[in-house]
Assembly symmetry: C2
Homo-oligomer: 330 residues x 2
């Protein structure tokens, strides 16, 4: 009936990568959320305890874009023991005009990885202090690497501290990232020491018990919490969230259900009604970014469908220009 | 990372078609719903009024099947004016063990069409009277054709009456279906006459106002209502639903939200708590089918993810046997 473009992970890696242009694109997509004509339904979330897995489906329809994406993200946590990655998935791209499938992006989670990091970059752009001597990274996985890269695209950072539950992985991370970015990256013995030293802290863990306590916060610091994306995860102690001078989330409804707001509301230290600021309002200019040097800012990211649609649309544009992909007639 | 099989609509048409074997398969999938270990989250539903469209995403994880499907069903209702079908879409198939994408079924809605009809066949198998002189079909579209075929696979029918808002389409339907099945198919002037004459009535319309009234029901008849799949649709008057002696639905939670139960509960003639019987219980043998000749039975079908997973799994099995499909390495 129609020609459908199939793009593989390696082709998609040629089309989009994590850079300031992607930050701009994701920032613009967030700003469109504020126009109120974006349709972004709640996440379809499927828990599969019998196979230690989960699947999330996210989507958003953004008027003005040629296409919209429906993103399927499975996470199967016994995979690493089988030599397979936990996370993968794909994006289905539909025409915004006819709903007909225009493309299938077999990205194995690559596009999700970089659109997630780019949201961190956008948060840093608006909320990190102008001067960052030390950045602290909690976690040593893919997002730890990508979030650090996104931060470095937005701020000059003098040194990086990293903490991970697995000391060996933290050491490897430090060595690899120091070489990659040409700045000192060292392992921190404790989360407390890391937070106290850092002007920007990025949390990228699947923690179910809070890692960051309120009494470690200090004036002028910014925290981006991107680990919690499910109702049983929590990286920031409720009291620490309540102590932030400026609390920003990517989507209030999602953060209340599956992000840091959930545990803080459950603990009774925050009210469901807020006040919370959405990152989209900052991107659209209807809410401020950091307003003064001493402000303590926290941004909780749960991941939104509008990021998926934005990166899929961009990837397809570039693929068309370069003639990448396989056409299947169906 | 992995080889992903891409199957086109024409290949999928070679793999599965609407026959009694498919009824068996869908019946078995429904019966597994009763075991309580199927994971079937609520439908992700996206309304897109600005483009007169909608998208539904359905899925179900069925223990024991190698794969599970995530089905994307767009409906864009300005398409026919552009010479395009309203409905299309695809299924993404994931390994039940690792969550890795194993296949993409570019079916343009074909698999949805036949798994929907097969559920009607299963409903007829258990609920239609043993002897059906006249079957009445409301609607003249794809499902009108397929539901008739499914009924004829389960019951010997002497004649068919059809009603449609568009008289010309009804005439074409009658002529085409009479030739196809070798039985008389004629157009009914009114829905009332059609219902009064028929022992089985199948409604396949997108009606927003009820078509079937309570005082037309008569002993021994069965109605399958498959048109309503959204919160603004309604084919059976609430009082007619309340008058049924045996009320069966494919999924109570879905029918309460987007099926015939919704309007009947809203009208106050049925309680949210039921009693309602799920088709899965009948398929599993924990609830009866039709219990006596004079019983008036109604079955409301909204379409479930377990049907999608069952048909996708079957299509892939056949495709593997016949070596169909294109492998993409990603």
């Amino acid at each position: 009936m129609a020609d459908i473009k199939i793009l593989t992970e390696s082709e998609l890696r040629q089309c989009v990568s994590l850079d300031r242009a992607l930050h701009d694109r994701i920032e613009h997509a967030f700003s469109q959320l504020e126009q109120g004509d974006v349709v972004m339904p709640p996440v379809l979330s499927m828990d599969l305890p019998s196979v230690n897995g989960e699947v999330d489906v996210k989507t958003a329809f953004v008027p003005g874009m040629d296409n919209f994406a429906i993103k399927v993200s499975p996470g199967f946590f016994d995979n690493p023991a089988k030599g397979l990655p936990s996370l993968n998935g794909l994006m289905v791209v539909l025409s915004a005009e006819t709903g007909i499938v225009t493309a299938v992006l077999l990205d194995n989670g690559y596009l999700t990885d970089i659109r997630t990091a780019a949201a961190g970059g956008v948060a840093a752009r608006h909320l990190a202090p102008a001067s960052v001597q030390t950045a602290g990274i909690l976690g040593t996985g893919v997002q730890a690497r990508l979030q650090l890269k996104a931060l470095l695209l937005e701020r000059e950072v003098q040194r990086v501290r990293v903490w991970g539950r697995d000391r060996d992985k933290a050491e490897s991370f430090a060595q690899e990232q120091a070489e990659l970015h040409g700045i000192p990256v060292t392992v921190s013995e404790s989360i407390e020491a890391l937070v106290l030293e850092s002007q920007v802290v990025i949390t990228t863990t699947p923690a179910r018990e809070p890692l960051i306590r309120a009494d470690w916060l200090h004036p002028g610091m910014h925290i981006t919490a991107m680990g919690s994306d499910a109702p049983d995860k929590n990286e920031i102690a409720p009291s620490a969230l309540a102590a932030a001078g400026y609390l920003v989330v990517d989507r209030v409804s999602q953060s209340l259900e599956r992000g840091e707001l959930r545990s803080a509301v459950a603990a009774g230290v925050l009210r469901r009604e807020g006040p919370f600021t959405e990152l989209s309002a900052i991107c659209a200019g209807t809410a401020p970014g950091r307003t003064h040097e001493a402000q303590i800012t926290v941004c909780d990211l749960t991941g939104t469908g509008v990021q998926d649609t934005a990166i899929a649309d961009r990837a397809l544009q570039v693929a068309d220009i370069h003639g990448l992909g396989t056409l299947i007639h169906s």
